[in-house]
């Protein structure tokens, strides 16, 4: 079918999706009967544009490359904020890729809520709304007969939530263990090669894996959010951020890493959520894994999830956890899942 898309936010991830959509338009139509027009884009920095009949996306990308404001796009409604864009545009599907506070969910939470309330499908890579109100949002989506998907919130486009929900459907998952933060895994990998923590962090920052303020990664806050998401979606729990005990990697020394290596172990920052007699229990903390553990061989910025299931025992998926194209793609796979659901 043909989707009318609105990008709410148009930063790295949104542009990552846009590039794929432009490049693969013909193939997506032929292979999946998936077609689209982008009717609106609203971004805090780049400006806002809405055109009922659709935007010329190659022109949009040119303007973005040249640092021209989207408010200058000709013959179009310009300057609408995200909420206005969601409410006033004729989009049937909102791509929510702004930013979010993991404690409150805002402002992404308002965008997702408004879009679902308007009867639009939503695909989003923002963790805040899922961490804070996933049950309510999914109920609203169901009530309005639309879809809300967020594969990219965990492991970017590597199959994670969709893997658990779709290709492991019918299995009961009793535990998920994972390496869900590439920055810390990269740092630990470099430390095993002999680098001090500070040097490894700097290297990660140089490569764009870590931000200028690395707290969210190295203190395990990013992993904590992803653990809440896995707990409250795949595992059916109802946790808040603070319910997940959290310990980062900042106390791990080069000495610890060396010692573990000599003993045949390897330190990894492990996110874990499991079903217990008292409900879902989750934590994020560094663990010393034996070398034959399915997560021990996952090196560099790569991520992985290990599912303990009733029918299959352990199933592990390994793939990228971040990146412009990888996260942009997660939105495409969610759009294709909606397309497949609506096509039957």
């Amino acid at each position: 079918m043909k989707f009318k898309l609105a990008f709410i936010g148009f930063g790295v991830v949104g542009q990552g999706l846009a590039e794929i959509l432009i490049e693969k338009r013909g193939w997506l139509k032929e292979r999946y009967d998936f077609d689209y027009e982008v009717v609106a884009i609203s971004d805090m920095k780049l400006g806002s544009v809405y055109r009922k009949k659709g935007l010329d996306m190659e022109k949009v990308m040119e303007m973005v490359d040249k640092d021209e404001s989207l408010n200058e796009y000709p013959d179009a409604v310009t300057g609408m904020n995200p909420i206005e864009t969601i409410k006033e545009s004729n989009a049937d599907t909102v791509i929510e890729v702004t930013f979010t506070d993991m404690e409150t969910g805002g402002p992404a939470l308002d965008h997702v809520w408004t879009a679902l309330d308007e009867g639009d499908h939503v695909v989003s890579t923002n963790k805040g709304p899922v961490v804070n109100e996933v049950k309510e949002l999914l109920e609203l989506a169901q009530k309005n007969n639309v879809h809300y998907r967020f594969e990219g919130t965990v492991l970017s486009g590597t199959p994670a939530i969709n893997l658990a929900e779709d290709t492991l459907a019918g299995c009961e998952i009793s535990e998920i263990k994972g390496i869900v933060n590439g920055t810390t895994n990269y740092i630990l990998t470099k430390m095993e090669e002999g680098m001090e923590y500070e040097e490894a962090l700097e290297k990660a920052q140089e490569l764009g894996y870590a931000e200028a303020d690395p707290t969210g990664d190295v203190e395990g806050i990013d992993a904590q959010g992803k653990t809440v998401i896995l707990s409250n979606t795949v595992m059916g729990g109802d946790l808040e951020l603070d319910d997940v005990n959290r310990e980062g990697i900042t106390d791990i020394t080069l000495e610890d890493v060396k010692e573990a290596k000599e003993e045949g172990y390897r330190w990894k920052l492990i996110a874990r959520t499991k079903k217990t007699a008292d409900g879902i229990e989750a934590e994020v903390k560094p663990e010393k894994l034996p070398m034959d553990h399915p997560l021990a061989g996952v090196m560099g910025p790569t991520n992985a999830l290990n599912f303990t299931t009733d029918h299959l025992g352990e199933v592990t998926v390994v793939g990228p956890g971040a990146g412009k194209e990888e996260t942009g793609y997660s939105l495409l796979v969610d759009l294709l899942a909606i397309n497949a659901a609506l096509e039957e």
Copy 2:
């Protein structure tokens, strides 16, 4: 929705599914709105029974446990062969789990063909029909607006075909490398621990991983069939068995394994299919992998597939490749996918 199921074949795999269906009936209804009656079973050894209003599956399992022929099931039509059962029963979905000749596809191929032609959905773990005529069968299914799914033909219930087709939708997959045969991987694992090939094979036979005649596994024929399946489904190729160059593990000596280990390598039987300028090229052969290769750490009877994709780079899935419950489950996940497609 409520499915009317016919089991064509009721050996280990069929019984594996039946046990899951019995155990999870309530949960499947509640969680997925999936309900079922088994209306027919036709098995060469166990007999054949058809009851329009549905069979008491606990009674069926009791009879099987007591070695009573299903032809003795009271108040039912008995003695129909597979084709009669498919044609005459009121089943809307056929679970095809008989046996198959990989060279010709028979007799499973006739069952799948007949069922799709009758307008029934088909789920099957038999490789023969997929190896020989997957394109024709999928065309027939599409023409009759029904589904033909076969997740269990590769990696049992571990997400493999469904992972590539559904959760990696929108990615172009340029290469798949995998460990798709548990028997040979188990033997190579034991050889690395110091066992001679013959001893490791005996051990595999004791544990039920290898058959009395292990040719199909150790000569790579099983892996060859799975490689054709991946080539012709996920990769869009059109190969026959003989198009896949094949070399088994029988020429690998304990000395080779030791030598590789000393050099930091590990022998694995690798199935590989890739897109080239000349089309899809595929082969099965032992390869010496460096220890940091994503498939090097996959030990014992465990299987794995590594996908090279455009948007995500490499994605790897690791899980069981065989087993009564694991393969039985593959049929359930296919049934749930059909259910989800029909529910929208």
